[in-house]
């Protein structure tokens, strides 16, 4: 599994959405499934799958899929392309 696959997996599990919905542009609060409760589930999922521990600022700034990748990048998680 690539990091991209794991990322998509985290989103589909935490937000209970299908993988085709997980685009770069998908943003917090833009769909009913990505609310504050799902957000915290998502953070927990990303932290456990990638073995990282995010700061407060990163948690509250993680407002889209693209942003999540950029933030995970800071913790050494690389995404191809």
């Amino acid at each position: 599994m690539t990091n991209q696959d794991i990322l998509v997996d985290c989103f589909t599990t935490a937000l209970a959405i299908t993988s085709d919905t997980v685009t770069e542009a998908l943003a917090y609060n833009s769909i009913p499934e990505w609310d504050s409760i799902a957000h915290m589930t998502l953070v927990a999922e990303l932290e456990s799958r990638f073995g990282v521990m995010m700061d407060t600022d990163d948690i509250i700034d993680m407002s889209s899929v693209a942003k999540a990748k950029a933030i995970l990048g800071k913790y050494g998680v690389a995404f191809e392309g």
């Binding site: 504050s36 407060t56 509250i60 407002s63």
Partner: protein, 451 residues
């Protein structure tokens, strides 16, 4: 009454909503203006709530004018809303600044009725808790006497407007002449914290889930110099979390209060002022309130450390329940409120909740009646039984026309109840477990979810 004396706080800042800032005098004027747009005849008003200035003004104007209010969150499922409208036939629907007249028939509304709050919001439960203006005022006064709310304080809304705990934060701050920052952002948003710092917020109110979220955000590491105290209610916060927050409060010179309440008591009934020493306690009744414990036989339990059903008496105890319009004509308030919780008392008189008699769960602080879930499914022709296991919803159902597979029902429940799917599990069964007397066998339903 707190809502009738807004202007006495004069030029003090009352409300902030976005760029708008209103003093108590200006708020009082806005309320009077809105009141002029309401009918002369006493009317039942359906108020579609959000945490904004418009909702606050409409709410206060109806209280001042004596129009009973039915509060419904603006996000409620449209079908569930339509069912509520059919059942209670409100005269007007208010949303934002807009007043939509629905009909002008005179409804049978008891004189003392001021407010209807749902017992199980997101299920659109027809069952409402009926409250009087005295209930609201009395609870606001008791809360003000229990908490260090100061007139110069500012708080920010973190709970839904129509949720009794959220509303009690609003009422008690208006009584104190303190400032309310109306906010719809959640605590995981950057804008919430920017606002918090920019406006020097002094206090936060949260349900157990809010605090779990705050700790996950490493809240105790955040630099929040204006924050003086925290309150928690709306369900049991695990003891280690209470201890962690109480220790943080003690170390940083802040205060943390664990409270206990329910909508049937307007909002709050008890306060634990020493969560560090007694992290598992709900504390003692608020001023003007009193607790008792009843044995299963109905006699009073006087001894310490003996379990009984917790009952409560005070001026904040509701007028009663309503299930339809006809119930709004007259009320006979209970002298003691049966909380539905089992509790015991220690030698100091502090109470501890030990179990629950009522069929309800509180996932993420959201109260969901299990019978309401069964009702929703029955309305769709489904035979189903709902149970709660550690505040998560478990539904056993017989596949039928509306829902034939588990995933379909789970998805529908999550959407309709606005509940995160992680708190829902469903199981398709050929028959629902029944006891020999034909009644639902809930322990057997729970066992369906073992492993």
């Amino acid at each position: 009454m707190f809502f009738a004396q807004l202007s006495k706080h004069g030029r003090r800042l009352a409300v902030v909503d976005g760029d708008r800032r209103l003093s108590y005098r200006q708020l009082s004027e806005a309320v009077a203006e809105f009141q002029k747009r309401l009918p002369e005849e006493r009317s039942l008003v359906l108020l579609m709530t959000r945490n904004d200035l418009e909702t606050l003004v409409a709410y206060l104007a109806c209280l001042v004018a004596g129009h009973p209010l039915l509060l419904v969150d603006r996000g409620l499922d449209p079908q569930l809303l339509a069912a509520l409208v059919t059942r209670y036939q409100p005269n007007l629907q208010v949303q934002g600044d807009e007043i939509v007249p629905l009909h002008d028939r005179q409804l049978p509304l008891a004189e003392e009725l001021a407010l209807l709050l749902s017992t199980s919001g997101s299920t659109g439960s027809p069952k409402q808790v009926a409250l009087s203006a005295e209930n609201l005022d009395a609870n606001a006064r008791s809360i003000l006497a229990s908490l260090p709310i100061q007139a110069c304080d500012r708080t920010i809304t973190t709970l839904p407007f129509q949720y009794s705990y959220g509303l009690s934060v609003i009422n008690s701050h208006l009584l104190a002449g303190a400032c309310l920052v109306m906010n719809e952002e959640t605590m995981v948003s950057r804008r919430f914290w920017d606002r918090f710092r920019e406006l020097d917020i002094c206090s936060l109110a949260g349900v157990p889930f809010s605090y779990e979220m705050l700790l996950k955000l490493r809240f105790t590491q955040m630099d929040l110099p204006s924050l003086r105290y925290l309150t928690q209610a709306g369900g049991r916060l695990p003891e280690p979390v209470v201890r962690q927050l109480a220790e943080w409060a003690a170390e940083t010179g802040r205060q943390f209060f664990v409270m206990y309440g329910q909508t049937e008591a307007t909002a709050r009934m008890a306060i634990n002022v020493q969560p560090l020493a007694k992290p598992g306690a709900i504390g003692q009744a608020i001023p003007d309130g009193e607790f008792r414990l009843l044995s299963s036989g109905g006699s009073k339990v006087d001894a310490a450390r003996q379990e009984g059903e917790l009952i409560y008496q005070g001026p904040n105890v509701m007028l009663g329940y309503a299930e339809s319009l006809a119930d709004l004509a007259a009320f006979s308030p209970p002298s003691w409120l049966a909380t539905g919780d089992l509790a015991w008392r220690d030698e100091d008189g502090d109470f501890y909740i030990s179990g629950r008699l009522k069929r309800m769960i509180k996932p993420f602080g959201q109260r969901i009646g299990l019978d309401d879930v069964e009702r929703l499914l029955a309305e769709r022709g489904m035979a189903a039984r709902a149970v709660g296991i550690e505040d998560a919803l478990r539904v056993a159902f017989v596949p039928g026309a509306s829902f034939s597979v588990e995933s379909q029902l789970k998805e529908w429940l999550a959407k309709t109840l606005a509940l995160h799917p992680s708190a829902i599990r469903v199981r398709a069964v050929p028959d629902l477990p029944v006891r020999p007397n034909g009644k639902a066998d809930y322990p057997a339903v729970e066992r369906l979810f073992d492993e």
